[in-house]
Subunit: 107 residues, 2 copies
C-alpha cells in the first residue's frame, strides 16, 4: 500500500506549484537562474520591501528551492535544485502556446 507515499508525493507537487504561483517567488527563482544574489540585491532588483523578500525566501528555502550562504553581513541565495528551472521552462512553453493560439476564451 503505497497510497500514503503517493499522497505525500501529490502534496509536494501541489506545494511546489503553489510556490511558483506567486510573482515575487517566481521572479526570485528566475533571477537566481545563473548566479547567486544577496537579499539586498534581490530587493533592489525587484523593488519590493525587504521584509517581504525575506519572507518569500524563507518559504522557498523551507521547500528546498533555494539555499543560502552567509558571507560577512550578507546572505547569498542560490537555487538549491536547478531542476526547478525545467518546470518553469516547460510552463513557459505551454504559456507561449496558449498565448499564441488564443483561439477560444478571448473574451
Amino acid at each position: 500500500m503505497n497510497t500514503n507515499e503517493e499522497q505525500n508525493f501529490k502534496n509536494e507537487m501541489e506545494a511546489v506549484f503553489k510556490l511558483l504561483s506567486n510573482h515575487i517567488r517566481l521572479n526570485i527563482l528566475i533571477m537566481l537562474e545563473n548566479k547567486q544574489f544577496s537579499v539586498n540585491e534581490i530587493v533592489e532588483a525587484l523593488g519590493i520591501p525587504q521584509s517581504q523578500i525575506s519572507h518569500q525566501l524563507a518559504i522557498l528555502k523551507k521547500h528546498q528551492l533555494v539555499s543560502s550562504q552567509k558571507i560577512g553581513k550578507k546572505n547569498f541565495y542560490k537555487l538549491d535544485d536547478p531542476h526547478i528551472l525545467n518546470v518553469i521552462e516547460s510552463t513557459a512553453n505551454h504559456v507561449k502556446h496558449v498565448l499564441q493560439g488564443k483561439s477560444h476564451s478571448e473574451v
Copy 2:
C-alpha cells in the same frame, strides 16, 4: 517596449501555476491524460461533489487547459493542450529529486 507583453506572459505563468496548485484540478488533469471523461465519471473517480468538480472544470476551461464536448446529456472533457503534461511531468521529476535527497529541512 515589450515590458507589457512580458508582464502578460508572467501573469499567465502565475495563473497556470495557480491552477496546478490545487489537488482537485491537478487530479482532473492527470485523469484526462489519455482519455476524455464526462463530468460524472470525474465526480465518481475523485469522490468529490459534482458542483465542485464543475466549478474547477470551468476554471480549467477558462484558462484553456481543458475543452469540452457535449454528447447528448453528457459533457466530455479532455486536455486542450497536452503540453501541460510536460509541466506536470517535470514537476514530478523535481519532486522525486527533493523527496529522495531529503537532506536539509527535515524538521
